[in-house]
């Protein structure tokens, strides 16, 4: 069971990573296009070889139109896709100097309560994201440059947000089990890497 959730979380982290990598490349290509466009339009090329630069410009060399809208939509998906791994590994920043003295029982109970609340919050977030999606869809809102319906971006993010909620429910259930049975169920948490 743990292996399944571990794979799920890692798959989504990689998926988010690939989207992030794609956005990096997209942004760089856009900058490159913009620079070439500026150079071709510049005095130097316009005076020496106007025909050549006009021909190149006609092929549509330039910044990618509305690239930042893709960055925004893609980034939202990536962050939602990153959440399951963070949840499963307990990688959220917290202060534990005051609770490190607690005995194992109280410590496990506290952890179980926190994870249950966290799962509830992530469920609410996914649910409200769905509500937001419907509002955008009913309003027919589209993005400014690319004019794609905004709810598409919401839908992609919702997919990852639901996985994050499911993983957090799994973590919460396991932590409650640990607290009730007194046995360790989940592997120990990773150190945060920030």
């Amino acid at each position: 069971m743990h292996i399944f959730f571990d794979r799920l979380a890692r798959t989504f982290a990689r998926l988010g990573g690939f989207v992030l990598g794609f956005l990096v490349v997209l942004t760089c290509v856009s900058i490159l296009g913009r620079s070439v466009n500026t150079i071709l339009n510049g005095d130097l090329f316009q005076s020496i070889m106007p025909g050549f630069s006009a021909a190149l410009l006609n092929t549509g060399i330039g910044p990618i139109k509305g690239d930042f809208e893709i960055v925004e939509a893609g980034m939202a998906f990536a962050i939602f896709a990153f959440l399951p791994l963070c949840q499963l590994n307990g990688a959220h920043a917290s202060v534990d100097i005051f609770t490190s003295k607690l005995d194992l029982r109280s410590s496990r109970l506290l952890r179980a309560i926190i994870e249950v609340v966290f799962a509830a919050v992530l469920v609410i977030i996914a649910w409200q994201l769905f509500e937001g999606l419907q509002t955008k869809r009913n309003a027919g809102e589209t993005s400014f440059y690319l004019e794609f319906p905004v709810w598409w971006a919401y839908a992609v993010s919702l997919f990852a947000a639901v996985v994050a909620a499911i993983v957090s429910i799994y973590v919460a259930v396991m932590r409650v089990l640990e607290s009730v049975t007194g046995n360790r169920v989940l592997p120990p948490e990773l150190e945060a890497d920030h």
Partner: protein
């Protein structure tokens, strides 16, 4: 209970949650949610905010710098640049007393120029430098303390993730903040090297052997090997500053550049790519959740009018601005011993920044503002009479302000009292941001809970925590001296920042 009281009460509640080990982002989110429900008396408004706020935060264009910088930092690790940096620093500094330790600090500073996170810098450089420090006979505690302190340069020397968040919170120009961090970052590296020099003289038994002197030709060759680092740094920071691209685009260029270097060096394989995604995923999700929680909590605080009231109260109290600044910095030093820098900044800046905005430190005078505008006017080649220009320059050189008639005749714009106030607020924001960044980083290496200390100490099993604690005090002292200098002389921080 008035809204203001509810706002005030939320602080102890929030602190209680955080000290109960509730993740900081979640704690702020809960405090904000419950607070909003109490203030608005209903769950409709907080839930309605959630409809678009989560997506809005996660898709924020400025914030997308953060995952890109994190990826860039990890790629930099894979590219083997830490090795060449350390080798270069060692060839220049290794023959001095405590030279290998100084070289570690120098290499950390170099790595900080392509990595925006402090733990990543400390951890990466430790892998390279710890074995060498040991080989040259440096004591374990001194070695770990050096690297823990050197790691804090990662966040001070631009690019810096925390500075990006600060810029977004205070609506300041990221490029200007990066520029302002540059000199304090160099000062920090020099300060740490002085701390090392002092330490090895007081505790000669803990300092290691010095290396043999290396001929200059070889030193230059080692320095030449770090060109990819310099290229990426100048492309990213310079490109952002010169307006070639936005900060987010700069981060993308940096991630692409370091990724390419890592790939060419053979460090980027299927496995390491996955690992870099996992590391980026965990850190990004954590940061974005804190940002989301902070946005929610601050939305609630704004509704209670607390930040405005606090600012008005401080403004009316007649306390010296300098005293208030010192109180805030001491507060950060203390809190920094408990909490990570990013959470602290997200939690406190929305309260402290409105207060700071009310304070006048006189960072820029009218004469200085007019001089810089006049210079720009003269350089722009606008049609101004030369005699008038010379006359105005003479008046300003004399330390006097230009009269209103004169500025009108010259066609000089943006030199009234309002413009001066705006410039002063911007300068205060930049200066304050750098100071806060430094004091929260001191927390990372302050015993007993400094996070860098734990991470580096864990990498060296033979060294006890106490040994690290003893040695790190020299670096903390160096940090504190630097803070005092930067508070007393704001122009050090602001020297590179254009008006």
């Amino acid at each position: 209970m008035s809204d203001l009281m509810i706002g005030l009460m939320s602080f102890p509640a929030l602190l209680l949650l955080i000290f109960l080990r509730v993740p900081i982002g979640l704690a702020m989110f809960l405090a904000g949610l419950v607070g909003l429900v109490i203030v608005t008396g209903d769950t409709t408004i907080p839930l309605a905010r959630l409809k678009s706020e989560t997506f809005g935060t996660f898709s924020n264009y400025s914030l997308s710098i953060v995952p890109m910088f994190l990826l860039m930092g990890y790629f930099a690790t894979l590219g083997g640049m830490s090795q060449s940096l350390f080798k270069a620093a060692e060839s220049w500094l290794g023959h001095r007393k405590g030279g290998v330790a100084m070289a570690s600090v120098g290499a950390c500073a170099g790595f900080g120029a392509i990595c925006g996170s402090s733990l990543a810098t400390a951890a990466t450089m430790s892998r390279v430098a710890l074995p060498d420090l040991k080989a040259y006979g440096y004591a374990g505690g001194f070695s770990t303390a050096t690297l823990a302190a050197g790691g804090t340069l990662g966040i001070l020397i631009p690019p810096s993730v925390v500075l990006v968040i600060y810029a977004i919170l205070t609506e300041q120009n990221i490029a200007k903040l990066f520029l302002a961090a540059f000199i304090p970052g160099i000062l920090a590296a020099i300060g740490y090297m002085i701390a090392i020099a002092v330490y090895v003289r007081i505790n000669p038994e803990n300092g290691g052997k010095t290396r043999e002197r290396i001929p200059y030709a070889e030193r230059l060759r080692a320095l030449f090997d770090v060109w990819p680092v310099l290229l990426v740094f100048f492309l990213v920071v310079g490109g952002i500053y010169l307006g070639w691209f936005t900060p987010t685009e700069g981060a993308a260029v940096g991630a692409f550049g370091t990724g390419l270097i890592a790939w060419l060096a053979g460090g980027l394989t299927r496995d390491t790519l996955s690992e870099s995604f996992y590391v980026t995923a965990r850190a990004s999700a954590m940061i974005f959740f804190i940002v989301l929680g902070a946005a929610f909590y601050n939305g609630f605080l704004a509704l209670t009018q607390l930040p405005q009231e606090a600012a008005a109260w401080v403004g009316a109290s007649g306390l010296s601005p300098w005293l208030i600044l010192i109180i805030i910095l001491v507060f950060y030093l203390l809190l920094g011993c408990l909490m990570d820098s990013l959470s602290m900044i997200l939690l406190t800046i929305p309260i402290f920044w409105p207060v700071m905005q009310e304070l006048d430190f006189g960072l820029v005078s009218m004469v200085e503002l007019q001089s810089s505008k006049l210079e720009a006017l003269a350089a722009s080649g606008a049609d101004v009479s030369a005699t008038l220009l010379a006359e105005a320059q003479a008046i300003l050189a004399n330390g006097q302000e230009l009269t209103r008639e004169m500025t009108r005749e010259l066609g000089l714009r943006g030199v009234n009292q309002g413009a001066l106030n705006r410039v002063n607020i911007e300068y205060t924001a930049i200066w304050f941001g750098i100071l806060v960044l430094i004091v929260v980083e001191v927390g990372l290496i302050t015993p007993p809970v400094g996070m860098n200390l734990f991470v580096i100490n864990a990498m060296d099993k033979k060294t006890s925590m106490v040994e690290t604690y003893k040695a790190v005090l020299y670096f903390v002292a160096s940090d504190l001296v630097r803070v005092v200098i930067l508070v007393a002389f704001p122009f050090i921080t602001l020297a590179l920042v254009p008006l």
